[in-house]
């Protein structure tokens, strides 16, 4: 099928109508409301499930939930997490249900890629990716967050929530639509 292309009229070939139309469009946009978000004054709304910076959490009695199993260290793709476990003669855990607590826990925020694998693999629900997206520091050493800083930024997280979530999922599967 041959596409019929109309010959441009003389008026159109002068490009003047096209230029005038262009002038109208740009003038209209000149006076429209701007879509720029002025950053430090206006911030955007961080959505649910946003993968920000990873922080350690405490439970409702103020104990650290991390038991230094080092699973997050091994799963971390850029190896941003470094944990020094207490060893056999290190300090004991600070809560009754745990056997050990990390001696030192460092996350290098410059290597972290915010993938969320550490949060996914943690059996104790001790590390979460929070909504913090703008991390700044004045030196590389300053950007390696140690345990104190991580705990302080993490906040509180009550109990184990994954069982509640698995319960919800199981219930959802019990009412699977459509009979055999």
């Amino acid at each position: 099928m041959i596409v019929q292309r109309k010959q441009l009229t003389l008026w159109e070939r002068l490009y003047l109508p096209a230029i005038i139309a262009g002038l109208k469009v740009t003038l209209r946009h000149f006076f429209k409301k701007k879509v720029t978000m002025e950053y430090p004054e206006e911030k955007w709304v961080v959505p649910e499930g946003y993968r920000g910076a990873p922080y350690l959490v405490r439970d409702q009695e103020g104990n650290t939930k991390c038991v230094s199993c080092q699973l997050c260290e091994f799963v971390c793709p850029p190896k941003a997490i470094r944990i020094i476990p207490p060893g056999p003669d290190g300090p004991p855990a600070d809560r009754p249900n745990a056997e050990k607590i990390p001696l030192e826990f460092e996350i290098n925020m410059l290597r972290c890629i915010f993938c969320g694998y550490c949060q996914e693999v943690c059996p104790e629900e001790a590390i979460f990716l929070m909504k913090d997206y703008s991390l700044t520091g004045t030196s590389r050493e300053e950007m390696i967050y140690n345990k104190e800083k991580l705990l302080e930024l993490g906040g509180e997280h009550r109990g184990i929530q994954k069982w509640k979530q698995k319960l919800e999922e199981a219930k959802a599967q019990a009412t699977f639509p459509g009979e055999v």
């Binding site: 740009t26 946009h29 429209k32 701007k34 879509v35 720029t36």
Partner: protein, 355 residues
């Protein structure tokens, strides 16, 4: 030795160069803000000076319109490293920005930017062949770009330089021929006389709109502005002839381009829009008081600013011409059109004077 004349000329030269440089700095800012507004975004609005920025109402307002941004740009240009690559031809590399910049400043020497202030005429050089001088100097502007492209010793700048020089010399012819009808009407090449004619008979754009159109488009082509900016666009030739140039020399090229725009706008205001006159309120007479003289200068600057806004507006509105379309327009359409314009004007003048 007329020391008085020399002294006042020096003062005028310093003032005009200062004014052109200030207009350059603020036209860069204006371009960024206007282009941002056309593209639904805000331009630079963060630079604030330490003390003045906190004055209650004016300070934040000036910061929001980016008034101090040219200071930041100037500081950046000064403090950035200004290197010379090892593979360039050193002499031409160093000369090219200067040769690109100087003709722009020379062109404004003949333009009357006011009537008079006290007893001083507000024009640096009241030449009787004003417009010929202008076109001679504009032709020199090509050398800067050719040298820049040649000196950089590398593919993209070379192509950019060649294209730009071909484009500029083509549109110079159309530009020159398009203003001949105006001088047929006025009868005198002196730019002060042109303004006086316009004060008596109305602005020349009403008599020769086609001349204005050809001159406007040729001015875009001469200053390498869109829609004719193939020599320096980013998509075709990384940055064209100014690829290899860094801070200060690049700033000089940039300054040359905007100073050329200012000179071109000033030329258009003088030739077509009546220079420093306005048709009402007795502002078409040379000033009797200092206040009126200042008002005339203000009118001139205002008109130049309007034309600069038109330059910037058209840049962000039209797509770029392809190179063969550009040359086609310059040689095969504008030159016959300008010639026809001259013939028709001459015929009409002869008819009116004969009968």
């Amino acid at each position: 030795m007329d020391w008085n004349f020399i002294l006042f000329s020096l003062i005028k030269i310093v003032c005009v160069i200062g004014a052109v440089l200030t207009m350059f700095a603020y036209s860069v800012l204006a371009e960024r803000k206007i282009s941002a507004f056309i593209q639904d975004r805000v331009g630079p609005n963060r630079v604030a000076l330490p003390l003045i920025g906190s004055v209650p109402v004016i300070g934040p307002f000036l910061t929001r319109i980016g008034f101090w941004q040219p200071i930041a740009d100037g500081l950046k240009a000064l403090l950035k490293e200004d290197f010379t690559p090892s593979y360039v031809r050193k002499a031409y590399f160093w000369l090219a920005p200067a040769i690109a910049l100087i003709p722009a400043f020379l062109t404004v020497a003949v333009i009357p930017f006011g009537s008079n202030l006290g007893h001083q005429r507000m024009v640096i050089a009241d030449l009787n062949v004003g417009i010929l001088y202008t076109f001679g100097i504009v032709s020199l502007g090509v050398y800067g770009i050719v040298l820049a492209g040649y000196a950089a010793n590398s593919k993209y700048p070379f192509l950019g330089g060649i294209r730009s020089s071909a484009q500029m010399i083509s549109y110079e012819i159309a530009m020159g021929m398009s203003v001949i009808p105006l001088f047929l009407l006025v009868g005198n090449l002196n730019l002060g006389q042109v303004i006086e004619y316009q004060a008596r008979h109305g602005w020349l754009i009403l008599y020769a709109p086609l001349s204005f159109f050809i001159f406007l488009v040729s001015a875009f082509a001469e200053t390498n502005r869109l829609p004719f900016d193939l020599p320096e666009c980013e998509t075709e030739l990384v940055a064209g002839y100014n690829t290899e140039y860094s801070s200060m020399k690049f700033a000089l090229f940039f300054m040359g381009e905007y100073a050329n725009m200012v000179a071109g706008s000033a030329m258009m205001v003088t030739l077509f829009f009546g220079g420093w006159t306005l048709p009402f309120a007795g502002m078409d007479q040379p000033a009797a008081t200092v206040l009126m003289g200042l008002v005339h200068i203000g009118i001139f600057v205002g008109k130049v600013l309007v034309l600069m806004v038109v330059f910037i507006w058209v840049r962000w509105m039209l797509p770029r011409f392809r190179y063969d379309q550009l040359m086609d327009l310059g040689w095969r359409r504008f030159i016959p059109l300008a010639l026809a314009n001259i013939l028709v004007t001459a015929f009409v003048l002869w008819w009116r004077s004969g009968s």
